[in-house]
């Protein structure tokens, strides 16, 4: 195989003057979930790399924003950018995440972003 086949200009070509994740806008198709919807985080195989935190798996949260479209981190980490998906900001109740979270603080939450592949309707 010949060396240095990498195109070092491809990101600059799509993102200059536009920004990232703006450069992936409208590339993901329709979003599967809406603001306010309750979703469960799927415990998918996560061999080699993931940005979906272990502490969210199997937990149910509420979609608070459709934040942007982008390749999933699991793909972008190998520069595979052909299939952007929707990213969602999701709020979890702390009491749903940790069995030992003190009931004295019933309203505490965590907010974090997950890409569509990690979500299913709760």
């Amino acid at each position: 195989m010949s060396k240095n086949q990498h195109d070092r200009t491809h990101h600059a070509k799509i993102a200059t003057g536009i920004g990232d994740p703006q450069c992936f806008k409208s590339k993901a198709g329709p979003a599967k979930f809406k603001v306010g919807e309750r979703v469960r985080i799927k415990d998918l195989p996560d061999l080699f790399y993931t940005r979906s935190q272990m502490y969210t798996r199997g937990a149910v949260g509420k979609v608070t924003e459709l934040v942007y479209e982008s390749p999933a981190a699991e793909d972008e980490a190998w520069d595979n950018n052909d299939h952007p998906e929707w990213f969602y900001s999701i709020v979890f109740q702390q009491k749903d995440l940790w069995p030992d979270y003190p009931p004295a603080y019933p309203n505490d939450t965590v907010e974090t972003e997950l890409s569509e592949r990690w979500l299913e309707k709760a």
């Binding site: 536009i18 920004g19 019933p106 505490d108 939450t109 965590v110 907010e111 972003e113």
Partner: protein, 233 residues
Amino acid sequence: MSEQHKPAPMVEEVSDFEVLEMAVRELAIEKGLFSAEDHRRWTEYVHTLGPLPAARLVAKAWLNPEYKKLAVRDGVKASLEVGADWINGPPTHFGTPSDYCNLRVMEDTPKLKHVVVCTLCSCYPRPILGQSPEWYRTPNYRRRLVRWPRQVLAEFGLQRPPDVEIRVVDSNQKTRYIVLPVRPAGTDGWSEEKLAEIVTRDCLIGVAVPKPGVTANAKRPVHPAVHPVHHAH
């Protein structure tokens, strides 16, 4: 041998890291991966970054309800008004590679307190806030804040009544966050500049709240560098 290994302090002229850093940079330049000028420009760009634009964003939002609405709805657009251009400001003109272009401004209320962490690494809104503090990068902060937020915040000197919602924002993807704290009492009639002075970096991360008369982060031990950054300007 069973003696405990005490690491030999690297107080000789250069450390292994310094040797490798020079080797990597020289080779990258020799191979045309980037130029010496690129590297100098990036270093200069980093020197321009600090918490002032974010502090001014908060102060403006306190004074102007329409601007506050914009900040919460479109952080990147609101950043432009305080001189932080997420897209065209950095030398790339496509944003910084590590910080992207999606700032979200998280608005505190009397019943909602935000605090930011990146449990996976140390993602931080550099273009509007500068470089992250050491403690923010530690595995310790990243392990504990998301699960024991009130304990960690208490260590930073911040407590809230039990019914207040403490929302830990885990910055794990492309969004970068700053906290828009509640405007404190005792600031009536203050100018934007005077308000910005009390919005410290720690307030913008969420581990402190603005207080009249407090214009610096809480004092903490500072681990000195062996060969600190030289500031040529």
